[in-house]
């Protein structure tokens, strides 16, 4: 249930046995949990939206190429960051992938620390993105629990109104406003006015898009 405990994995998709096996070895040596696939099709079959971590993908593969897999994952709204491994002369291909939203690319043969740094960056980035999405979903759920009156109070709080002004606008007593206000803070799970505003703004910015 607790998403924070979901274990991130590094998925490696590469048709070259030595390349794939050695990369798995390298990543496992640095305490990463790794899933390896020799064909893009195999990874696609195993993919689901709950997968967490990042994907290391060889651009050139027989059958479905790395680029094609990436495009298919984009269509399926996968949120896994993708690192492309390119050989000599594949740079234009990699640049095209970057333009379509790939996280980064790395040229063969690569230095281990470069690959490890990229993987760490991607995992951190994915973890944050997931936390952000989770936060938004949580805020939306909490918002749904507010009564109509509490919504009105919340809107005026966000608009920067003082309790007195809110009471005037809604035609209720300051005391009642204070009660509503406390309920809103409690239901939204906000410790401070600042955190309340931040939460609402993040959801609204998303909805406005």
């Amino acid at each position: 249930m607790n998403e924070a405990l979901i274990e991130q994995q590094v998925f490696v998709v590469d048709d070259d046995d030595a390349q794939r096996d050695s990369l798995v070895w390298l990543l496992e040596s640095h305490k990463h949990k790794v899933g390896a696939f020799s064909r893009a099709e195999d990874f696609l079959a195993a993919w689901n939206e709950a997968l967490a971590g990042c994907l290391v993908l060889d651009v050139r593969m027989p059958g479905m190429s790395g680029l094609e897999l990436f495009e298919e994952l984009c269509r399926r709204r996968s949120t896994l960051p993708v690192i492309f491994i390119t050989g000599h002369g594949d740079v234009p291909m990699a640049v095209a992938a970057l333009k379509k939203g790939a996280a980064d690319f790395i040229e063969k043969p690569f230095a281990a620390e470069d690959m490890l740094r990229l993987v760490d960056d991607c995992l951190a980035q994915e973890r944050e993105a997931r936390a952000r999405r989770r936060g938004k979903a949580d805020t939306a759920r909490r918002l749904a629990q507010l009564t109509t009156r509490e919504h009105e109070v919340l809107d005026l709080i966000i608009a920067g109104k003082l309790n007195k002004q809110i009471a005037d606008v809604l035609g209720i007593s300051i005391k009642t406003v204070e009660v509503h206000r406390a309920r809103v803070m409690e239901k939204m799970g906000a410790q401070s006015l600042a955190s309340l505003v931040r939460r609402i703004v993040s959801v609204e910015a998303d909805a406005g898009r």
């Binding site: 070895w25 390298l26 040596s29 002369g89």
Partner: protein, 372 residues
């Protein structure tokens, strides 16, 4: 009266149709070539109303040229209709090509005429010609390309085992630092060793390939080498909107060289020159290839560009394998060029062009001097 009018209408309609054709249509007296009819295209092609003129030097087959199997001048009314000619002819004045079909038939007044139709096929012919020429070049220079391809393949193939070795070793290092047991590392080290062997095999294969392509040196005219290489470069030059000037001193002696290898060197240098001039414009976009006799024993060839030039520090590593300043370069071109020139007992040198840009020069031994 009405019949005559109907006949007139029919003739006018027919003429309108013929005038609408893009092909040139004509009818000429089979005996003396006098033009009896010409449609609009035919008149436009010859710049005047041609009726009454004699067919000659126009886009038509000629008996004098031996274009016909049967001389149309000797045909009687009983011999027609018959096909006279079906073939391609150039218009000598404009140089354009036409597909011409002619038929002998009986004209309205009882004379035997040649009725012809000529279609402009210049564009189609040029396309076919270009394709044919390119095909020829590709097959003739298959060996020319292999070196470059080989280098690229080598890079790709050897990358796989190399990066695997790097990964295995780095993984081992990390585990050793974390205090891993030696036995845990063993499989990775064995795999790394196997990958090193794989790389070695690839290199051995390359070496065998190179051995097979040892130079075959013969006596070759310098102009022949340059013509072939520059025919290629010419295509490049046109595409890049650059000028290629060739200056071969007259009366150069034959050189002793592997023709294809030297062609490759010249092509390589010329293309480098083009690349160096990609940001230049106007007059500066000129690349000159010059050949002259340095003395009785050596012919010198220079490739002179007006490009961005080469910095002092880059010049030092210019001929080293895998050194490149190009985004998509391999860094093999000049290294191979120098090896090839040295195989010919020559030297590939580089200097700055006083007018801006770079001059590459190399020498080839004169055939007679080698034989002595």
């Amino acid at each position: 009266m009405d019949d005559a009018k109907a006949g007139n209408d029919a003739r006018e309609r027919l003429e309108a149709v013929l005038d609408g054709l893009e092909a040139a249509v004509y009818a000429a007296d089979a005996r003396n070539g006098e033009i009896l009819f010409a449609n609009r295209s035919f008149r436009a092609l010859h710049g005047a109303d041609t009726v009454g003129l004699v067919l000659h030097g126009l886009v038509v087959p000629l008996p004098e040229r031996g274009d016909y199997r049967v001389d149309p001048r000797g045909l009687g009314v009983d011999d027609v209709p018959c096909e006279l000619f079906d073939g391609e002819l150039p218009q000598p004045r404009t140089g354009r090509w036409y597909h011409v079909r002619e038929q002998a038939m009986r004209w309205v007044d009882g004379r035997v005429v040649r009725l012809g139709i000529a279609t402009d096929i210049t564009d189609r012919k040029e396309t076919a010609e270009t394709a044919r020429r390119q095909e020829e070049r590709i097959s003739r220079t298959a060996r020319l390309i292999t070196m470059g391809e080989m280098a690229s393949m080598l890079a790709h193939e050897i990358n796989q085992p190399l990066s695997a070795i790097v990964n295995y070793c780095n993984g081992c290092a990390a585990r050793m630092q974390a205090g891993a047991d030696a036995r845990e590392l063993l499989p990775a080290i064995q795999k790394a060793a196997a990958q090193a062997e794989r790389a070695g095999k690839i290199i051995r294969r390359i070496r065998e390939f190179v051995k097979k392509s040892e130079p075959r040196r013969t006596a070759v005219p310098v102009a022949a080498i340059l013509d072939e290489a520059l025919a290629f470069a010419e295509i490049d030059a046109r595409r890049r909107n650059m000028r290629l000037v060739v200056d071969i001193a007259p009366g150069l002696p034959d050189v002793r060289a592997d023709r294809i290898m030297i062609e490759q060197v010249v092509l390589n240098l010329v293309r480098n020159g083009f690349d160096a001039m990609k940001d230049a414009s106007g007059e500066e976009c000129t690349l000159t290839v010059r050949a002259w006799a340095r003395d009785e024993r050596l012919v010198e060839i220079a490739v002179i560009d007006r490009g961005h030039g080469i910095s002092e520090e880059n010049r030092e590593c210019l001929f080293q394998p895998f050194f490149t300043t190009k985004d998509d370069g391999m860094g093999m071109g000049l290294a191979i060029c120098r090896s090839v020139v040295e195989l010919h007992d020559g030297r590939l040198a580089v200097e700055s062009n006083p007018e801006g840009g770079t001059i590459f020069t190399f020498t080839l031994p004169v055939e007679e001097a080698v034989r002595e």
